[in-house]
Amino acid sequence: MPTLHTLNRSPANIQLFEQLINTIRPGDTLLLLEDGVYYCLQNKLNRKIQDIQVYALKDDVHARGIPIEQSDVLLASYEDFVNLTCENDKLVNWY
């Protein structure tokens, strides 16, 4: 059952990220929003999770002034967020 995971805390919340890493599976999707979009600044993410498509909520990325260059992260609108919720069989919100 492919699952959409959302994460809205910054990389400083190490324990939360570890819980997510232990639960997420290849084929799942990760959507970063709110302070979760700060993961886009770091390469850490791609090394830790493989075969996971990562999205970041566009408005939250722009608000915070985060440059998205040569990154594997795709920008998502709120509509995309809704679509991802429905396309995946399940949803887990991490905060």
Binding site: L16, Q19, N22, T23, R25, L91, V92, Y95
Partner: protein
Amino acid sequence: MTADAPTTIDYDLLIVLQHAPYSSAQANEALDLALAGGTFDQRVALLFIEDGVYQLMSEQAPDAAQQKNLEKMLNALSFYGVNTLAVESHSLFERDLHPEKHINPKLNLELLNAKSIQALYDRSKTVIRF
């Protein structure tokens, strides 16, 4: 389990408790929701993880801080049909908490490792973190 294996949904709601008690209403209000779930005959599981494991300590005496006793609420869960109380082992270990020494003996707790927690998520329709 591989990604394609079929999964049975055993729980309507998995409540994850990740915060220490008493400094906020998080624990209290999470347990209220668990009791409500039981009342409405929903299948509810609880997972205590990170600072949430502090909620399970024996000998809590919140009268000192003029607060409601969480232990009573925890002990009441089984009367409402909420019987799955899982604890992440590593969170206990990291906090120097020993089940025999520090944890409420009345609770029927299941110690889980990371792998079994993944399975618990799989078996739950919805997850809410508190």
